[in-house]
Subunit: 325 residues, 2 copies
């Protein structure tokens, strides 16, 4: 049966509930239960299951991998929050705040190992491919995180490097979730490849859209504070493209703004936004975003199953990344 | 060919040298190269290879797993050193000291993933068993570490709990290294089991010996400072057995000493050592250590290969744990 996203999420939530981290010593496992249950949209495990459902009606065999992906994703959040000194995650205290940093390190470590434990339930025919794909994107996520950190102290980041960074940090996990979902129902290598490329391109497009919305989004609809990237001097696509297009004076003005952290951020946000507008950056960003979207749907089209089976994955992509922003 | 320990180490060192962590971004990988090359005895990868060599003359196929075990072991050291705020490891600055804590967290994470990457080179016939064993002992190491932390603030630790803790924290990795070595040359499950039990029992005996030597060792021969465990109020087997055997007054005296951290440690070390001596604790500790040693060699004997093939592994065990201490 082809399942809708709510059906898939219901199935996943039931599985997760039936596999709690209720082991000993509780000081190690309680924080894991806590972080897995403070909310979150659980999009990545849904992607695993939607990928499996492209090829098969019965997708229960893909549930352990879906759980593995969510546990892995939460492991990265736990360790990232230590590194970013973030006090809150989804409105609730982070593990290193609620417990302590040592607990956050060790509980995170064991989460990563448990992800592999759940992956081991893959069919033996594709087990090696599942673990290989997982390793690849897990390494990519770490490399992307390090590149992002490096960019903070660099003034010569290129657009190419930026795209590479978001590909590793964000898109690789989406691609990996889809690819592993395909392997869990032993889909063929070519379909798994196209599905993975669909995810990679959607992931890059999603991050580019996030860059646009962070500056140009509707404050009512955008979840985070509009202008946050500018306030934090983040070298997003908007900034890098501006530096590429700007004359010397404008580039210098932009560099100036993005090297300060004034108490009143609003003047800074307004000034930088004006530079973006003068250079028509939103249009440039949309154009490249749509290029990645086109590429994504090219790969979705290439998968050898009926359009009907692709409908929910297509809808999911369209809900995640809009063409007209 | 049956290889001696030096031959095995030479082979391992060559493989490690040919597989450097020279990837990008270098901020992520340079610390890994650093920690893998600041020394260390590399006993755990040697165990993988010795286990393989029990069954096969040609053991090159086990080299990736040997490397995986060493990379994993170093990952635990990197994260443990953050948690213990240790400035030095093997006489050199730890990663979080030389670089920073965020680097130590992220480089450690990626090391754990690379361990799995190297494990993937296992024969397909035993890949699932290799990963399953690895997961088991990796989880055990984390659980043992957490139990050890918990013990610091507890006054009711039992001997049974202590043995469980050292089994998880120390012995599981030795058992796992041997078991995985056997799987890398597709040894049968029963032999892999006996080898693993040999390792588990040797590991527990080794830790008990370490407890004895920390107090009663020859300062000339013992690598660490004699009396260190007492100074740090560690709840070793010696302490727990003393509390079990002591009358109320002696137990109270021992509790008293182990709740202080005086500037001059020598009087404290002397007093606690005297209590141990009065209670004949060294003999008790040796007796239980020898019980684990007997169990270890029972399992080594049970492996279905000739005594000649077992000679170096037996020698290794005997060098690691002496019967007469």
């Amino acid at each position: 049966m082809l399942l809708t996203l709510p059906d898939i999420q219901k199935k996943y939530n039931l599985y997760a509930k039936e596999h709690p981290f209720n082991f000993e010593p509780k000081e190690l496992y309680e924080p894991i239960e806590y972080i897995l249950n403070v909310g979150g949209k659980r999009l990545r495990p849904a992607l695993v299951l939607m990928a499996a459902n492209l090829f098969e009606n019965e997708i229960d065999s893909a549930l352990p991998a879906a759980y593995a992906i969510e546990v892995f994703h939460n492991f990265t959040l736990v360790h990232d929050d230590i590194m970013d000194e973030a006090p809150l995650r989804r409105g609730q205290p982070t593990i290193h705040t609620k417990y302590d940093t040592n607990v956050a390190i060790l509980s995170g470590d064991v989460m990563l190992i448990y992800a592999y434990k759940y992956l081991l339930e893959a069919p033996s025919a594709t087990l090696a491919q599942v673990i290989k794909s997982f390793n690849q994107f897990a390494i990519a996520v770490c490399e992307g995180q390090q590149m992002d950190v490096n960019f903070e102290s660099r003034n010569d980041v290129t657009i190419e490097e930026y795209i590479k960074m978001i590909e590793l940090k964000t898109a690789a996990l989406i691609a990996g979730a889809l690819r592993i979902g395909a392997y869990m129902v032993t889909a063929d290598e070519q379909d798994a490849f196209h599905l993975s490329e669909f995810g990679r391109n959607i992931g890059i497009a999603f991050q580019l859209q996030d860059d646009i919305l962070d500056t140009f989004g509707d404050p009512e609809k955008f979840g985070k504070k509009v202008g946050g990237d500018i306030a934090q001097n983040k070298k997003t696509y908007l900034v890098l493209k501006s530096l590429q297009l700007a004359d010397e004076a404008t580039a210098s003005e932009l560099h100036q703004w993005l090297s300060t952290k004034p108490k009143d951020e609003s003047a800074k946000i307004e000034a930088v936004k004006n530079i973006f507008t003068r250079l028509d950056i939103k249009k440039h960003a949309s154009t490249i975003k749509n290029k990645y979207l086109d590429e994504a749907y090219y790969h979705l089209d290439a998968i050898k199953v009926s359009d009907e089976r692709k409908q929910y994955l297509r809808l999911f992509g369209e809900t995640l990344v809009y063409r007209n922003i």
